[in-house]
Every structure is written in C-alpha cells, then in structure tokens.
C-alpha cells in the first residue's frame, strides 16, 4: 500500500462514518468505536513512514504544485494526530457508557463526533491556508452542537458566545489569508515562504491578522472570555475533546504557521509579545482556576492557563523551546482529557460539581480520583510526567537564550497549578460530615472511571518515552539553530 493513502483515509473514513450515522438515524456506538480503533491503527501505521522520510505528502486531485491541495503528515502533525487518536479511543469508550440510555443525545453525539474527528485530522494534516480556514470552521461548527448536548437550555448562552467569537476569529484569519494571497499568489504553506516578498505592509498586516484570528480561536488571554462557560458547561466527554483537542488545534496552527510560511514576516518583538500574552494567560488562568467554586470551571480555567505554555516557544524560538511547546501540548491534552472525564464522573455521582460540597467521595470514586491525581501530577509538571518533560525543555530553552523572565513564569505557573490541583484533592478527601446529604447520582460504571485513568497514566508515561517522540518531532522548520 502506498503510504500517502494513510493521511487521506484519516480524513475520509471519519467523514464517511459520520455521514452514514446521520443517514441511518439510529445511534450506532459500535460503528464509532470501530472507527476510532481504525483511526488509531492508521496513525500508528503512519509512524514508520514519517520516521524514515521525515514527512508524507498526499496530493488531492493530482493537480500541479501551486494549484493543488496537499495533505502533509510530518513529525509535528503526526504527534498531534497521535494525541487525537489516543484521546478519541478513551473518549469514545467513555461516551458509550455515558449515553447508553439516551437515544437522542447518543445519535447526535455519534453523528457529530466522527465528523469532528475527521475535521481535526484534516486540520492537523492541512498544508493550505484557505483549507485551514475551512477546517477551522468545520471544527467549530462540530464542537458547538456538541456543547449543546448538555441541554440546550443550560448551555445556549455559552454556545452563542463561543460561536460569535469563533466566527469573528475565522473571518479575521480569512482577511489575513486574502492579503497574503494577494502578495504571494499561492495558498500552499510550502510555497508561501518563498513566494512572499520581503517586508511589505500587506505581508506584515496579513500575518498579524492571521495570528490574531488564531489567538481568538485558541482563547489566548484577552480573547479567553468564551472558553470557561463553554468548556465548563459541556458534557464531560465533550469538554475533554474541546479542551484537549479543539483549542489545541488552534495553538498547533500558530506553531505550524509561525515556524513555516510566516517565518520571513515575524519579528523578535512579536515573539516577545506573544510570549508575554502566554505568560499572562498562565498566571491569570491559574489564579482564576484557584478561585473557582465549581470543579469543571477549575479545569476549564486550567486550560486557559495551560495554553499559555505553548506560546512560550515564540520568544525563544530554539529547538528546546519548540520541543517543549509541542510536548506540552501532548501532555496537557492527555492530562486535561483525564481531568475532565474524572470531573464528569464526580458530577455524575454528586449531581453537582460544587467544590465545597464534595467531601467524602474518596471511597466510591477512588478510581476517578486516582485519575484526577495522576493527571494533576502532569499538569503541575512534577517528574516523571509528560508535563515535567515539557516544562524542563522550556526551562532549558529559557536558560539557553538567557531570557530568565520565562523561568520565573514557569516556576510560578507550576506553583499555582499545584495550588488548584491540591485544593480539589484536599476537598475530595476530607472526611464527610456527620449527616451525609442524599447523593442523587450513581456510581459511574467502571468503563467511565477507567477510561479517565488510562489517559492519566498515558500522561505520566509520556514523560518516560520522550526520546523517540522528540526525535520524531525534529526541530522547527524555519527556527534558529
């Protein structure tokens, strides 16, 4: 089999599954689970090819270079695909148990989720500026209906705000694409860097618009206002997907575009600015997470904070920072997936997620709390977790470039993360009060508890297997060094 069939399948098979599910009109969780299994196998099959040749390119339509749309699977894309595939398996198992009895919601979930999976794969594989715009919209419009699964009455405000910001973000991005196309005459990421004339106003403005548009989609600090309500209000399985993958996809685009086609246009000052935004996001998000009174909002604000770390690549722009930022994306994805699934279990058991009324859940929810704790280790960045490796790489980079202020940010961020994770755990392990209130919910089935734990364990394991993964990733295309 030709290796370039694999990326194409990664996009088309989930779409096919989603469309068939839509037409069938009856929920078929088995189809969805087979799909995510096949998806994982396809991604694993991609690894040897990418490891040997550095990248696999598929040409869609067979047209010549400046016109055709290509799919590109290089180290960076592959790692994101791998993260998506692993999370997809865990989330699908979780969702199978979670929506067992709700026919309507199950049908909608199993229609939208394969389509979202295909869209995410398409986004990670895209090598074309306009195609990225379409995939961004696709991801957004698959994600918002999923948020509504928690009950339209409760989530409609959050969904509307999410939609407004996402729409504005993608149109700002499109304005940037228009300006760059006017200058370069091509949309292909691989050709763009060479085709762009040096330092024109149109080029710089286009690059800035693209970056601002993506920052809105990635919920980076001044634009984070839509995130907590949407991620906190969605059903657990959906929150996991949104926090671990959907906003990550936008952050990924920033890395991909900055180190590739936008490389000739960006300046060190812009890098410092983005880094500063990231640092602010880390400190502000962590502080907000510490102050929240509801568990899912703690986890949602933690996402605002954790996304900031990926922005620390831009001011330093050395290989260690590159690896650290990407690795942080992976570790955070797995850990945050585990956190949201575990939080969903707690919510299911308690019927609410108010932190102050959580005491005494350590025995019935031991497995879920284990998942929460393990994932918390990675979020805090303690060894031997994936989060530790990522932060270590970022620290190395800040020492290497002599930019000590990022070192302080990293340490402060870790401390604040420890504060909010331990706050939750402390409340959960407190002895129950004398008169235990009625627990209206049910103990989550083992499948739901263990899928969270598996993700958390993977987040820890990530710290041990870093060497081969980092080798796969390589160094930034246009970065210094």
């Amino acid at each position: 089999m030709r290796p370039d069939v694999l990326p194409v399948m990664l996009v088309f098979l989930p779409f096919l599954a989603g469309l068939l599910q839509f037409i069938a009109g009856r929920p078929a969780p088995r189809l969805g689970n087979v799909l995510v299994g096949v998806n994982l196998l396809l991604v694993l099959a991609l690894i040897p090819g990418v490891a040997d040749e550095g990248a696999i390119v598929a040409n869609l339509g067979g047209w010549s270079e400046p016109l055709a749309i290509h799919l590109l699977a290089d180290g960076l894309a592959l790692l994101m695909l791998l993260l998506t595939a692993l999370l997809a398996v865990a989330v699908s198992l979780y969702a199978m148990a979670a929506w067992r009895d709700q026919h309507h919601d199950a049908l909608r979930f199993w229609t939208l989720w394969p389509l979202l999976l295909g869209s995410l794969n398409a986004l990670f594989l895209s090598r074309d500026l306009f195609n990225i715009y379409v995939t961004l919209e696709l991801v957004t419009l698959a994600a918002i209906p999923l948020v509504l699964l928690a009950g339209p009455g409760k989530t409609v405000d959050a969904a509307l705000r999410y939609l407004l910001f996402a729409l504005l973000g993608s149109l700002i991005y499109l304005a940037g694409v228009a300006l760059l196309y006017a200058q370069a005459g091509t949309l292909d990421l691989a050709l763009l860097a060479d085709a762009l004339p040096d330092s024109t106003l149109a080029g710089s403005l286009g690059a800035s618009l693209i970056i601002v548009g993506i920052l809105i989609k990635a919920a980076i600090l001044p634009f984070h206002v839509w995130l907590p309500a949407a991620h906190g209000g969605a059903p657990a399985a959906v929150s996991a997907i949104l926090s671990a993958l959907v906003v990550k996809a936008a952050a990924y685009l920033l890395l991909r575009l900055w180190s590739g086609p936008l490389d000739p246009l960006v300046t060190p000052a812009a890098g410092q600015l983005l880094g500063a935004l990231g640092a602010l996001a880390i400190l502000f998000g962590s502080w907000q997470a510490f102050r929240q009174e509801r568990l899912k909002l703690v986890v949602a604000y933690s996402t605002v904070a954790q996304l900031g770390y990926m922005l620390l690549f831009f001011p330093m722009a050395v290989t260690a920072a590159w690896q650290g930022a990407v690795y942080h994306g992976l570790a955070h994805g797995l850990a945050k997936g585990a956190l949201f699934l575990a939080a969903g279990n707690i919510l299911l058991y308690l019927g609410h997620d108010r932190l102050r009324e959580m005491r005494g859940i350590d025995r019935p929810l031991a497995v879920s709390l284990l998942a929460f704790g393990l994932a918390g280790v990675s979020i805090m960045g303690l060894p031997p977790s994936g989060g530790f490796t990522a932060k270590w790489l970022l620290l190395t980079a800040s020492v290497e470039t002599g930019q000590w202020w990022w070192t302080i940010t990293l340490l402060l961020g870790g401390l604040l993360a420890a504060a909010y994770v331990f706050r939750v755990l402390r409340l959960a392990f407190l002895q129950p009060p004398e008169n235990v209130p009625d627990r209206p919910g049910m103990v989550p089935p083992p499948l739901m508890a263990w899928s969270a734990t598996v993700l958390a364990v993977l987040a820890i394991v990530l710290g041990v297997v870093s060497a081969p993964l980092l080798e796969l990733l390589g160094s930034p295309v246009g970065g210094s060094e």
Binding site: L19, L60, L138, A182, G185, P197
Partner: protein
C-alpha cells in the same frame, strides 16, 4: 466608471454605518439587506457575476428572509439598543481609533501590488481543459479544490444539525396582513419560473456563470416562497430519504474520493473519460443538498410537509 465605483463605495459605507448604529434592530436588518443588494451590484462591476448571483440569492435574499423571521419571533423591542458614539467614553474612543487604524492599514495594503502574478490562478486557467467544465470558478470548486468544497458541505450539514438540536423553529402560524388570494397567485405564477431558473443555473454552471451553489440557493428560495405563501411548513419529523439527500453532497464527494483511488491512483482525481458525467452528478447532488439544507436552516425543523397535512 470610477464615478460609479466611488458612489457605490460611499453607499456601502453609509449602509454599513447605519446597520451598526441604528437603534432599532429592524432598521439594522433592513440596512443589512440593502447593503447586500449593493454589494452584489459592486461584484457585478468587478467582473464577478456568479458571485453576485450567490450574494443576491444567499447573502441578501435567504439570509434577509431569515433575519426578518427571527426578528419577528423575538419579543417586541428585543435587540433595540443605541451603541455609544466614539466620543462618549474612553472605550468607544479607543475602539474607534483601533478600527480606523485597521481600516487605513487595510486600504494601504490592498493597494500594494506585487510584481509576480497569481501563480495558482494562472495554473487554474492553464489546466482548465482537463477539468471537465469550462467555467473556471466551477472547475476550482468541483475539481481543483474539490476537497475544500467537501469540507464546506460538512460545515453546512453540521450547522443544520446544530440548528435542529435547538428545536426552535421560526414561528409557523404567522398570517398575512390582508386575507387575500394574491400571494397564493404569486406563488403559483412564480414557482415554476424560480424552479426553472434554479435548475438552469445548476446546469449552466459548467460553462457560464452559475453553478450548484447559486442554483441550490434559488431552489431553496422556491421552498421559502411556498412556506411564506402558506403552501408548506416545517415538520417535526424527518425520514432517511431526506437525510440521505441532505448528506448527499458531502457523501458523493467522499465516495468519489475513496472509490476512485484504485481506478486513478490519486485522491479525488476523476478518470479522464468520465470527468464530465461525474462533474454533472456531483453538481446536481450538491445543489439538492444545498437547497434542502438552506431551506431547513430557514424553517429550523428536521422535515417539511404540505400545509394542513399531518
């Protein structure tokens, strides 16, 4: 023609400012609709008649009807607000400054012309012969960049799924001011004409301005006319045939992409001899999907039925 352009630009900006600043939501919507008409006119001026067709049918027509319907379903006075003027406070002043700077920068940037011509565009015109259609835009949409169009159909489908989840259709039992036969007569006179134009546009898309999108939008307009004149209405039930038609546009691309891999050895590439029939098939299923999706986005219901039917 420069005088015409200047006047167009002036009117566009005036209407946009009106749309943002009108106190009444209804007036803002009306300004937006007229702006759509003028925008279509300026695209005609800029040698983009097919886009003008799309904007007139989708951007001003269907969206305008939907906006008016949504406005009707909101409580009276909902959405009436007066936005602060630039000099009324620090925040409006800052935002005004920012937006003005952005507009000036964009104007300058749009006047910067690079020396080299658009490579992708030239390549598209070069390879038009192999594309199976004569109309360059249709060739780009359905062949050169068919992958984008597939994903776009996905967007349309998911917007529809999301809309249906909300279960808030446009209010159905609205009535016309005067109890008169005229609108019904109008529908009977116009319906065949609209259907004819719609089908013609789909068919003609291969060699002249038009295409699946414009044709689909016009067919959706025919449906809206039937609903507005009381012949049809949204229905709470759907059937698999309808769902298959809705998904058909995306499905036919997906299948064409997957099944042809062994035949052509490339993805989403169509075999030389069959390229024109495949294009026609794709174009009609796309148009049907688009028409139905837009119509259901308008009604906000999963299905359709004749008025009075159960």
């Amino acid at each position: 023609m420069t005088a015409l352009d200047s006047l167009l630009a002036l009117l566009l900006l005036l209407l946009a400012a009106r749309c943002v600043s009108a106190r009444s939501l209804l007036q803002a919507i009306v300004a937006f609709i007229v702006l759509g008409l003028l925008l279509a006119l300026s695209w005609v001026r800029l040698e983009a008649p097919d886009l003008a067709l799309a904007e007139a049918a989708i951007g001003a027509g269907l969206l305008g009807v939907l906006l008016l319907g949504t406005w009707r379903s909101l409580p009276l006075g909902h959405g009436n607000e007066r936005i602060p003027l630039p000099w009324q406070g620090l925040r409006p002043a800052l935002i005004t400054t920012g937006c003005t700077v952005l507009a000036v920068l964009l104007t300058v940037a749009l006047h910067q012309h690079p020396e080299q011509a658009a490579m992708s565009g030239l390549a598209a015109l070069d390879q038009l012969d192999a594309a199976g259609v004569d109309q360059p835009v249709t060739a780009v949409l359905l062949n050169f960049r068919a992958y984008d169009t597939l994903l776009e159909m996905g967007v349309l489908l998911m917007a529809l799924i999301g809309t249906l989840m909300l279960d808030s259709p446009l209010p159905r039992d609205t009535e016309l001011p005067a109890r008169t036969m005229l609108p019904a007569t109008l529908a009977q006179l116009f319906l065949p004409l609209i259907l004819l134009i719609g089908l013609y546009l789909v068919w003609a898309g291969a060699y002249s301005p038009g295409g699946a999108f414009q044709g689909g939008a016009v067919l959706a307009g025919a449906g809206v006319l039937l609903i507005l004149t009381g012949f049809g209405e949204g229905d709470g039930r759907d059937g698999w045939v309808l769902r298959a038609l809705l998904a058909g546009g995306a499905l036919v691309f997906t299948l064409a992409g997957l099944l042809l891999i062994p035949v052509t050895g490339a993805f989403m590439a169509y075999p030389q001899g069959l390229v024109t029939p495949i294009m026609v098939l794709i174009e009609f299923s796309l148009a049907l999907s688009i028409a139905l999706s837009l119509l259901l986005l308008y009604t906000g219901t999963p299905g359709l039925r004749r008025r009075g039917e159960r």
